[in-house]
Amino acid sequence: METIRKFERVCEIIDHNQRNAARLIPILQAVQAEYRYLPEEILTFVATSLGISPARVFGVATFYSLFTLKPKGKYLIRVCNGTACHVKGSMGLYGAIVKKLGLRDGEDSTPDMLFTVETVNCLGACGLSPAMVVNDEVYGQLTPQRVSDIVDEIVLKEAQNESDAHGA
């Protein structure tokens, strides 16, 4: 039923944007908000509905870094690597998270799809560098120890939710 709701939502998004090909980027943003990524067949559907070639939609979807064609983890960790954060050791934070999550070269998500780690250019929280954002929550003045703790907290919370769900 979830997929039905999502697909109907996609139709709504396209209608809401007047089937206007100029609104491709807002459409893709809304679709991604729904699916958390851009599924290939939905992009083909979007192209068909807007009367443009799927190659063009693919071109736009791969140009902008906030679009993703791969599903992302439930928790998207984006480590800021803007100048201020970089100077204050953001790549060390990134390394600490990668190590903590046991990600191998070329991997950005954990196998259970709980976490995805990326870097982001600048969150505008330079006064609190180094910073990162987990989904919508921003964390500032971080240390490798602190990010490791944040990951632990999330894992713990998830485990609790899990056992609560089973308990019920």
């Binding site: 997929t3 067949e41 559907f45 509905s49 070639s53 799927p54 939609v57 693919f58 071109g59 140009f63």
Partner: protein
Amino acid sequence: MNGTVIFIDNKEIPIENEQNLLELIRKAGVDLPTFCYHSELSIYGACRLCMVQVEGMGLVPACSTPPTPEMKVSTNTEEIRKMRKIIVELLLANHSQNCPTCQKNTTCQLQALAKRFGITKVRFKNQLREMPPDESSPSLVRDPNKCVLCGDCVRICSEVQSVGAIDFAYRGAQTVVIPSFGKALDQVECVNCGQCARICPTGALTPKSEVDEVWKDIHNPSKVVVAQVAPAVRVAIGEMFGLPSGTTTTGQIAAALRAIGFDKIYDTSFTADLTVLEESGEFIKRVTTGDRIPQFTSCCPAWVKFVEQYYPEFVNHLSSCRSPQQMFGALAKEMLSSELNVKPEDIVVVSIMPCTAKKFEAKRPEFERDGVRDVDHVLTTQEFGRMIEEAGLHFKELGPESFHMPFGFKTGAGVIFGNSGGVSEAVLRYVSEKLTGQKHESYEFTSVRGENGIREAKLSVAGNEFTLAVVSGLGNARRALDRIRSGEAHYDFVEVMACPGGCVGGAGQPVFSDPLVRRQRTKGLYENDRMLELHKSQDNPYIAELYGTVLGEVGSHKAHELLHTSYRTRKRILDEDVSISSGDEKSLDISVCFGTSCFLKGSQKLLHDILGHIRSKGLNARVNVNASFCFEKCDKGPTIKVGSRTIEGCTIEKAIEAIKREGVALAEEVRQNV
């Protein structure tokens, strides 16, 4: 601006109608390098090779700088020299290094520039990320390792052809030109016209070669290898051997084919003559009964695929005539077998074509009888040229020889098929005599000739007014079709060729970028017509004989069997269904078509209602619902598929009824299996 001058390298050059410095610099006789400037495409400004020094402005790209009076331009300064070298080195450092084995070896513009700028060493590290070439298409090979990202192919595919099968994807150093989602070229909406390969400055897009297969058959003693040569080839192949564009080399072609080892040499113009009779016959019938007017020509396989995938409602407007290539294939297999006393499977038909889409056409499932293909191999003009080179023949010096009869005999009408407007003119030459029942002395219908991508002509024949449209370039075809669909335009007959200017400008022809080349080839074909003895297909004695002995009359049953075909609507992109809801293992599949045509006819609401029905009946666990992208029944949408049943013009009532019926059948099947 006219009447003023600019100074290029101190030379005074008058400004006429030039829009940018590059055109003026070329007029001044300086060959300014560029990858991405083409007068037929939008200005892109990416290759940076045309940078020039303008007094007071510094370095500017000539392609996008408009001239102003008294401008002082230098095209060759130390700074410019250094920059050009760096640009070419940068490209080489991100380029496959296997020049000697590249299809474009010696015709590659990157190679030519490296030589021209005296680059003997690349100072940068090679940073190419090797990617596998895409050889899926029957017509084209895409090798990303040789791409310079000039975007010419992307722009010609979308701007000129309105297809957009390839586009840029990713960003920065990761940028590639690729079909959607990185799919193979044969899985997407590419119509195989090959204009991308024609314009590609390097070996990143090339016609797919069948040369080796052809040699193999030639060297196989049990095979009889038969060649057919398309009209446009004869005015272009000479370019590969130093002859001016437009030079007719029919005799040399025959000689070369014979020397290479072809057993029989025929002319596709012969079946073009045959096409004229069949297609005109169909036209007279349709126009007098008002049946599916306008009639569209069907000689161009890229155009046919274009209609099949974008304009399903117009598919039945295409003439049912096979293209001359396929008529030839069918006839050859039918007749030569008994005439030469060989088994049909031992006859190998090789076409020499100006075209890459013909390779795709030859492989269409329709064109095969009892497992034997009508046309076995399609060589482009370029490939044929390479065979001539490989055989060590001095093409220019070959003494002219003649084609074999009967399929080697043609009239001028069959020859001008290679020009945009040629098919229409040939048809008019037939129809005007057929309808009046009189022979005419004159044969030229110059009103359908010309260079515009959409030309209209009104003609009065025996009291009938006909409106014709002659279209070349698929973007123009799209415009024309949209106008027909909206009722803005009315035509009786529409000729479409996918390549601008027609087959003479085909992607299989020797590589060219100057439109003048195409113009000269066009002229060459019209001259050919004038030089020939006969100019009207109906005057071709061998055609008359063919009807007498084999075909009966125009449009006969036998003619239909051999010379006509049918079309289908087709998906643009394969394998892209959206799963909306899935039930248990053994559940009923329901797919709703969301292709453009069905979508416009209300498939969204239909899906919504079907889902509502399923929910209200609690059928969630027992059905799988998909949104599909085309059942190829576009004229009668919205279309859905329930189980194995396809329902056209579907309403919610029809859908519910089908779900009930198929659901019961499925339940029965499950019960029996248990």
